[in-house]
Amino acid sequence: MTARLRAAALVAGLAMTGYGLFGLLDDPYITAPVDILVWAVGGLVLHDGLWVPLLCLVGAYAARGPVLRGWLVVAAAVTAVGLPAVLRADDDHGNPSVLPLPYLRNWLLVLAATAVLALLLGLVRRRRNPPVSRPERREDPS
């Protein structure tokens, strides 16, 4: 049963991948599929070659403690989603209902609000488990 399910997932996945590839190459509107390849590989290289190593270095050397790390995870997500709007805030192609909000202010507001929540969480944790003096321990990198 499990083996059959596994085989079915494999076959369906390969078929869907093949269908997607065929579609990309066959679509009349996509005149240069190589452009998509360049962007896809470029994204992979930027993500795995630049962004994740940077993240690991920050995690290893700058971010101490679970609360600060947790807030950094939240801040990174909010930034990934919000930064494009911040960068494009004034570019609505003459349509005032596109990007109508003060995105820079809102982004900073969300960062600040989540930072305050993280700070409160950190204080609560400290009250519950007061820090005992212990030898300095290097945090695990990444």
Binding site: G20, I36, G43
Partner: protein
């Protein structure tokens, strides 16, 4: 395979470079479950939206006009799950990141194929999330067309996901249930990722979820901002329809063709319909539309029920200038040729002098600036 030369065992290739205990299968499986669910929801809702917007001939006659909010729901969910997938993808890829540097790079042909498959999956998923997010801002910095590329990459990413699940099935099964001993920091890490998903969802979902409107801080739309209190995707200025010709008449072509001016239309029985205007970009807003039932206009032209129509806009060009409407929408009593919205006469941005509004249809098919309605069969 011989052991690797020492010269290559540097940086990330050196054993022990990644010391976090969270680079382990159980954390990956927990995140993978959430991400897999988000990707599948994205794929299915995207497919539903695609079929409603661009139906193949065999399907167009059977697409339902109900539920009224169907398209709004699927496309809202599409963008919500896509945005949630952004932090999930980041966290999931971080947990498996050390595997990128495993040695030897390929143990067998099958292993090499599996790694190639993962590269396709990750590349397609990253580009899919990136293009999808930027599309919601109407920002297209890439040289390829968005809609077609996004659609086909969706098949690649979801197919790649299924292959990945099949390949990793034993590992996933071993780590599906919570083990007795927990890895230090896992709970805090998963809580952080949950908080990140919550933060990006709460600050963007208000573009379509009414009770989250107050928290809509980062979404590219707010459903109450726009001319006449509603967003628009294409303004009259963008479509070149700011001024309507003085001799505008609605032309209805059927067995008994006729034309009507605005006063004639206003004298016909008027009906109200509370319907959402919903966009594939993830925003939607409900409004009370008032106008003439499309079915009444078709009856005046002598067309029997079960008739499909073609609606043509005044706009000079645009991919949705001509819209085909299958019979089930034409016959629906909620489908209107609307003249008013929320009690006001439609302004130019909302399609003055008249626009189509129908239940469970993509915004681009709610044709504005209607000039002609013709029976197609």
């Amino acid at each position: 395979m011989p052991p690797p030369p020492e010269a290559l065992r540097r940086g990330p290739f050196r054993a022990g470079t990644f010391r976090s205990p969270l680079h382990e299968p159980r954390t990956t499986v927990v995140l993978g479950r959430w991400l897999g669910a988000a990707v599948l929801v994205c794929f299915l809702t995207g497919l539903a939206g695609h079929l409603l917007q661009d139906p193949p001939a065999w399907l167009s006659g059977v697409l339902p006009a109900r539920p009224v909010d169907g398209y709004r729901f699927t496309q809202g969910l599409h963008v919500v799950s896509g945005i949630a997938a952004i932090p999930l993808t980041g966290a999931k890829l971080w947990t498996v990141y050390p595997r990128l540097f495993e040695w030897p790079p390929a143990r067998s042909v099958l292993h090499a194929l599996e790694r190639l498959g993962i590269a396709v999956l990750v590349a397609a998923l990253l580009l899919e999330l990136f293009t999808g997010l930027l599309n919601t801002l109407q920002w297209y910095p890439w040289p390829f067309p968005f809609r077609q590329t996004h659609f086909w990459l969706g098949w690649l990413a979801t197919g790649g996901l299924l292959v990945h699940l099949a390949a990793k099935a034993p590992l996933i099964a071993r780590n599906w249930r919570r083990p007795q001993a927990s890895v230090p920091g896992r709970r805090a890490f998963l809580a952080s990722v949950t908080a990140a998903v919550g933060a990006v969802t709460l600050t963007t979902a208000g573009q379509t979820v009414p009770w989250l409107r107050g928290l809509d801080l980062l979404a590219p739309r707010r459903p109450d901002i726009g001319s006449q209190g509603l967003p628009v995707n294409r303004t009259a200025a963008q479509a070149g329809t700011v001024t309507v010709p003085a001799d505008w008449r609605l032309r209805v072509d059927g067995p008994q063709p006729y034309t009507l001016d605005l006063d004639d239309l206003a004298r016909l029985p008027q009906h109200d319909a509370v319907l959402p205007i919903a966009c594939v970009e993830g925003w939607s807003a409900s409004a009370r539309w008032t106008g003439v039932r499309l079915a009444d206009l078709l009856a005046l032209a002598g067309a029997p029920t079960g008739t499909a129509v073609r609606v043509t806009s005044l706009e000079a060009d645009g991919p949705y200038r001509v819209m085909e409407m299958p019979a089930q929408y034409v016959d629906d009593p909620l489908t209107l040729l609307a003249l008013r919205v929320n009690g006001e006469t439609l302004n130019a941005d909302h399609g003055f002098p008249a626009r189509i509004i129908a239940p469970n249809r993509p915004g681009v098919l709610q044709t504005k600036w209607v000039a002609r309605i013709e029976v197609v069969r």
